[in-house]
């Protein structure tokens, strides 16, 4: 039925109403399902390493540590300070290694190179390696996400 001057038939109006309501109901069901199937983000807030295990005597020495499920590299700089990197290539997520004699980070997957400060210098990597903050507190070395040091 369609009233004079009306834009819709009654059927069309009701179908839109029911259809819209069913769509809204479906959306409220789908939303939690989609949220559920994506696992929670699990990067650590911070990692605490015992200083005794990470003495790193000379400049340019390094040691790996677990940063959540990724490797991290802790490196002694020439001035004696410590720098930490997430040791994962910014190209396609391969783990990188540090080559002390060349003072470069190297990714074997696609021949990517970074200098000793983690700056991408050759090959496909689009960005420098991710740096992490390092805080030495007595017997502990605390490694935090960049810019989140309290």
């Amino acid at each position: 039925m369609k009233l004079k001057d009306s834009l819709f038939t009654r059927r069309k109006f009701l179908n839109t109403l029911i259809g819209g309501w069913l769509t809204a109901l479906g959306a409220t069901i789908i939303q939690p399902v989609i949220k559920f199937i994506f696992p929670p983000y699990r990067e650590p807030e911070e990692v605490i390493l015992p200083a005794a295990d990470y003495e790193l005597p000379g400049p340019n020495s390094f040691k790996t540590f677990p940063w959540g499920s990724k490797p991290g590299i802790l490196k002694r700089n020439d001035d004696g300070s410590l720098t930490a990197f997430v040791a994962v290539c910014t190209h396609l997520d391969c783990n990188v290694t540090y080559l002390p004699e060349q003072r470069k980070f190297y990714c074997a997957c696609h021949d990517g190179w970074y200098d000793e400060n983690g700056i991408n210098i050759a090959g496909p990597p689009p960005r420098p390696l991710r740096r992490l903050d390092v805080i030495v507190e007595g017997e502990k070395i605390i490694i935090r996400r960049k810019g989140e040091s309290a």
Partner: protein
């Protein structure tokens, strides 16, 4: 090439028009017991929810001795909406089992198993036991204190069957005791063997229902007049969808306001926790077993109890063949047996709780 619409193109290849035709012509008889026809589709709705939420839980659950409890904790505390999904899986299972009981008992009383629907009933009884097996195997998976204790008791019960008992218990447990091997075994049953069996038997069950149409109660049938009816599509579906929405609303409300918890982690060496009790649908059997004395005339009470239960299950399965005279005296006795069973189950369940 003649122009044809996409719909025609598909129809030539699939031939689904027959199914649509069938559904449009299918009539649902209308009488004062029509309401009971809805119970079957309620079970299907909860089954679909079980399958979807089950798939979701599978993404995070780890079926090993070391990881099971931890992974359920992770689902409950870390995964987005994890506690809701697990709670929905629990409550949907509960409601599904409740509707399986309602469905079977209502069909028993209405005598819907009369010829030619005997096999529909028998496949339904198999579906009941598959559903209970789902409940029993799923209960262990969170691997908390109560689930371990309940599974120990539940898998010990068959050992009292003469001759084959010990063997059945070992088969269920995957060894002499409930261990991590039992967990792996129950997981395999719960997510693979039981679902496949259920789909097969359910397909058979639904095929028979479509083949024979809805059963009409005896009293209506006797009146010898054509019954009023309405089309399956859209009239019956519309009424059913109202019912489904009520069920869905109840399910979500229960899941949110009475969420399923998680007990202490299971410890194989710890004594059984106080107040260990099976899920509500096993309570009447649990109480029955408790009431039997240790020995009757020199035979262990447990053995007699379990043999009686097996006889009852056999009678239940073959009910359509036993009820040869539905309209007569024997038929009435069988109807009253259903009522007696309901009273017995309710009283026993309440007794075990109070």
């Amino acid at each position: 090439m003649p122009k044809q619409s996409f719909r025609e193109w598909l129809e030539t290849r699939l031939g689904w028009g027959q199914i649509v035709n069938f559904l449009q012509k299918k009539e649902v008889p209308r009488h004062k017991h029509t309401l009971w026809y809805y119970t079957g589709s309620a079970i299907l709705i909860f089954l679909v929810i079980q399958i979807i939420t089950g798939f979701m839980l599978l993404l995070y659950y780890k079926p090993t001795l070391e990881k099971a409890y931890q992974s359920v904790t992770q689902i409950m505390t870390e995964v987005s909406y994890g506690w809701v999904i697990r709670s929905l899986h629990h409550w949907s299972a509960t409601l599904m089992i409740a509707f399986v009981f309602i469905h079977l008992l209502s069909l028993w009383i209405l005598k819907a198993y009369r010829p030619p629907r005997e096999l529909t009933w028998m496949s339904g009884v198999i579906l009941l036991f598959l559903t209970l097996a789902f409940g029993f195997t799923g209960y262990l998976l969170p691997w908390d204190e109560l689930s371990l204790a309940a599974t120990k008791v539940g898998t010990e019960i068959p050992s009292t069957i003469p001759l084959i008992g010990r063997w059945v218990t070992q088969l269920l447990r995957g060894g002499a005791d409930v261990t991590g091997d039992t967990l792996t075994r129950f997981f395999g049953l719960h997510v693979s063997i039981l679902p496949l069996s259920l789909i097969l038997v359910l397909g058979f069950h639904l095929y028979l229902i479509q083949k024979h149409g809805m059963s009409v109660p005896l009293r209506e049938e006797k009146q010898n007049r054509p019954l009023p009816s309405y089309p399956f599509w859209p009239n019956f579906i519309l009424r059913e969808s109202v019912f489904w929405l009520i069920l869905l609303g109840s399910l979500i409300t229960l899941s949110l306001f009475l969420p399923r918890g998680l007990g202490q982690p299971a410890d194989l060496m710890a004594p059984a926790p106080v107040g260990v009790r099976p899920e509500w649908y096993f309570l009447f059997l649990f109480q029955t077993l408790k009431l039997f004395p240790a020995t009757i005339l020199g035979i262990p009470g447990d053995t007699i109890a379990i043999l009686l239960v097996m006889v009852a299950v056999g009678l239940f399965f073959f009910l359509p063949l036993l009820d040869t005279d539905p309209a007569g005296r024997k038929g009435k006795v069988i109807t009253w047996a259903a009522v007696a069973f309901i009273v017995y189950a309710v009283v026993m369940s309440l007794w075990s709780v109070l």
